[in-house]
Subunit: 140 residues, 3 copies
Amino acid sequence: MLRQACHELVVRTRGRGLHEITEFVSDWLRQQRAQEGLLTLHLRHTSASLLIQENADPDVRRDLDAFFGRLVPDGDSIYVHTMEGEDDMPAHVRTALTTVNLSLPVNSGRPVLGTWQGIYVWEHRHRAHSRRVALHFIGE
Amino acid sequence: MLRQACHELVVRTRGRGLHEITEFVSDWLRQQRAQEGLLTLHLRHTSASLLIQENADPDVRRDLDAFFGRLVPDGDSIYVHTMEGEDDMPAHVRTALTTVNLSLPVNSGRPVLGTWQGIYVWEHRHRAHSRRVALHFIGE
Amino acid sequence: MLRQACHELVVRTRGRGLHEITEFVSDWLRQQRAQEGLLTLHLRHTSASLLIQENADPDVRRDLDAFFGRLVPDGDSIYVHTMEGEDDMPAHVRTALTTVNLSLPVNSGRPVLGTWQGIYVWEHRHRAHSRRVALHFIGE
């Protein structure tokens, strides 16, 4: 019998960088007794992203952030929108270069992530923020 | 009782830049009497994108487009595929760097966008185009 | 009557570049007798992407790969995580700049792709790999 469930997860980031949420998401699926279906995540902000990336070596997350920091430098003189700080417009660009939506099939109660995949909120601002992630499940 | 609905939205762009479609999408959900569920948008083109971004200060959209214009310059000599104009291959690259699919949970009849989020078609060609967006809703 | 189906597709890549999977995906939908609904694809890896791009001129795919090769150079000295080879961290960055999830409405048994759109696995490593793509369908 198909059914759906939804939830909002609040993630407290500690400033720029990747914050893993895989366990929170898996726990919520377990509480819903989700077996087979489709899980959707949507981050309700424009200066942070959702990302699926390697969960093994933390250097990978450090290097990702270093690359994006060089590609989209803070305080770039190309921007007109500068009132909210030197990292605000770069945060919008980093969000546009990545994504705020994820869609994951669920199999035997778990999202079908690969062995090395984790789900992350990528904070693009230097300051800590509370980030809201809408979760939706449809299935059995 | 779960059900689904689909539609095609035609968006007339006025050349390179972001064109908001949030109201069209919300209106369609209202017409479907959608309450709780999942909304999917798919743009059927390879030289424009779908983007969720800030809907407040228009300078943010201007700056996004300025950054992408510098990152992916028109007329770049790296390209072989140049017959369709100096902005054609850059449009494909900008599309690859962003996305053509969005998935949004729907709650109380509305997509769960954040306060500052709007849904945009990002036209990457300089000329105006008609862009087709497939909409799909599943839920109650 | 709404129902769902899932599958895992294994794609053998031949090294860096785009590998089309549109036919495999369409065939699977046909086998499921899918008519109207939602198709989700998830690539279970962190050094390859899923991409919807032009299926006409092969130069477009060559140019996309050339642009990304210059934007995210192999052997970049910015990286700390280098043990798995000069193309490993660039593969993670290229994955972050693109996506590993796609969501496509299905209409009359086919994904609602535009005329020039194909579905690709984008291998970012130089060596050939087996890449697993989870497929999920919900609908009628």
